[in-house]
């Protein structure tokens, strides 16, 4: 029984790493621009189509196709920030949120028109048979997902903790006006933050593609769990996003295994309400630092 629980938890952590990556992207974007990006999943999905076209229609080698898709995701994020949101700078946040909602529907619609709604298969990037260690079955795909989460998490921590660009992003979060007075090129830095955020969504989507297949709505469930993970973690905390995503993955996998997959979303929302009732700022939310 413990073996079985461990196995389910392991698969849950792997699934949770997708939620965590999605949540990290949401938080990076939100921290920089205070915009909740409802097009997040759709933008990751669009990047997955780039990978799909490169691999199955242009026969580009898989690793190269992934790099291309990730680069496209970064550019998509930066362009959306520059073309749509930079214009709306100073507009009520609700307006900006409506724009991201519109973009979500636009992307799903356009890719649906272009490729249809039939799921298109995507082979797992690594075709190795699962290995068994101490009675636990380790799927290479799961290991890759967790390893990428760790690597990207460490890279983000280094970016925000030890680079000028990261410090600039945090300054914009704290006080955009003062950031401009420091000479920080706010538009460019926000564009970079959006690029990074969408890049993270794309990594999650590409990793999910072998399981979900490539469809316009492939990210719909994952991005909802990504949002929940981010909220659980305090919507703003990177550590919170990762922990929230991993916990959520395990919980969802447990519900799938012991109850019924159809119940997962409602139980998760119930738990979310419960957690927020006890801790309104989420698990890792900082109380807003006192404004001066």
């Amino acid at each position: 029984m413990t073996q079985y629980l461990l196995q389910i938890s392991l698969a849950g952590l792997a699934q949770g790493s997708l939620y965590a990556l999605t949540a990290l992207g949401l938080v990076v974007i939100y921290n920089a621009s205070t915009v909740v990006n409802f097009a997040h999943g759709a933008m990751g999905m669009a990047a997955t189509y780039v990978a799909y076209v490169l691999i199955s229609q242009l026969h580009v080698p898989v690793p190269l196709a992934f790099v291309g898709a990730i680069a496209a995701a970064f550019i998509l994020g930066a362009v959306v920030q520059a073309l749509l949101l930079e214009r709306l700078n100073g507009a009520p946040i609700l307006t900006q949120v409506v724009v991201t909602l519109g973009l979500f529907m636009f992307l799903e619609g356009v890719l649906g028109l272009a490729f249809g709604y039939n799921p298109r298969p995507m082979a797992p990037p690594i075709a190795i048979a699962p290995v068994t260690v101490a009675g636990l079955v380790l799927r290479p795909q799961d290991i890759v997902q967790l390893a990428l989460l760790v690597a990207l998490g460490v890279a983000l921590a280094a970016l925000f903790g030890a680079t000028k660009l990261g410090l600039g992003m945090r300054a914009i979060t704290e006080n955009t006006y003062a950031a401009r007075l420091m000479g920080i090129p706010v538009g460019r830095v926000l564009g970079t933050a959006w690029g990074l955020g969408v890049l993270l969504a794309a990594v999650a989507a590409i990793l999910a593609a072998p399981t979900t297949s490539v469809t316009p709505n492939m990210m719909d469930t994952i991005v909802v769990y990504g949002f929940i993970a981010a909220i659980l973690g305090g919507f703003g905390s990177l550590v919170g996003a990762v922990v929230g995503g991993l916990i959520l993955g395990v919980i969802v996998n447990m519900i799938d295994a012991f109850l019924a997959p159809e119940l997962a979303m409602s139980i998760v929302f119930g738990l979310l309400v419960l957690v927020l009732y006890v801790r309104p700022d989420g698990l890792f939310g900082r109380k807003a630092v006192q404004k001066v």
Partner: protein, 230 residues
């Protein structure tokens, strides 16, 4: 060094600056006086590129900077230390200072210099800026501006809400800026204090310059003082 020529600034349809002209000679301290709402902070924001003038030119070192963005203006050495300090409350004192040199290369030398000037900040480098006292925050705001290696410093009400001793200390620092080839445009509610340190003064009211005069003449002219400066 800096020359404003008939600068107009609007907030939407509301006009706040109505053709302001003003000059700051190299190495001088120029005071900008005026009542609440006169448009003093607005003028500083126009110079530092936060607001774009609807008409007029702002010439810095022979170049019109009125259409440049704030980043380009900071890089030219025009640094705006804003009203209300505007520190980054959730970042440490060290991070606040480093952000001041965002557009510069190696900040180390300047960092040591600033800590030398504002010794009170030294032991607080790891502390969050939001937890500093008002006086310390003002020192941090000025120190952060100095990190940008200013040639022209725009100082908006540095004495606001501070105890006399701290004000005295801060103005002693300001009075030494000319030794480092830093010119100053000083906005102050406290006219007596400003005139003590300034070489020249302009009085702004309702978005227009009412007069400009050498500070020492203004200091002694009771008539003008009672009429304009209260």
């Amino acid at each position: 060094m800096l020359k404003l020529d008939h600068v107009h600034v609007h907030y939407g349809r509301v006009q706040v600056l109505r053709g302001v002209s003003l000059e700051i000679p190299d190495g001088s301290v120029v005071a900008l006086l005026g009542a609440n709402g006169a448009g003093k902070s607005t003028m500083l924001k126009a110079i530092s590129g936060i607001l774009r003038p609807s008409r007029g030119t702002i010439i810095f070192d022979g170049e019109d900077i009125s259409r440049l963005d704030s980043s380009a203006i900071v890089r030219r050495g025009v640094i705006h230390c804003p009203e209300g300090r505007q520190v980054f409350p959730g970042l440490t004192v060290r991070e606040n200072l480093l952000l001041g040199s965002y557009v510069r290369g190696n900040p180390r030398v300047q960092f040591d210099r600033v800590i030398d000037i504002f010794e009170a900040l030294g032991p607080r480098l790891g502390q969050l800026a939001g937890t500093l006292s008002g006086g310390e925050q003002q020192m941090l705001a000025i120190g952060r501006a100095l990190m940008g290696e200013p040639r022209l410093l725009l100082l908006d009400e540095p004495s606001l809400g501070l105890a006399p001793l701290i004000v005295e200390y801060i103005f002693k620092v300001i009075s030494k800026f000319h030794e480092h080839d830093i010119s100053v445009l000083l906005v102050e509610q406290n006219a007596t204090l400003a005139l003590e340190f300034a070489d020249w003064a302009y009085a702004l009211s309702h978005g227009q310059i009412r007069f400009s005069q050498a500070a020492d003449e203004l200091r002694d002219s009771d008539l003008v003082r009672s009429a304009y400066l209260g």
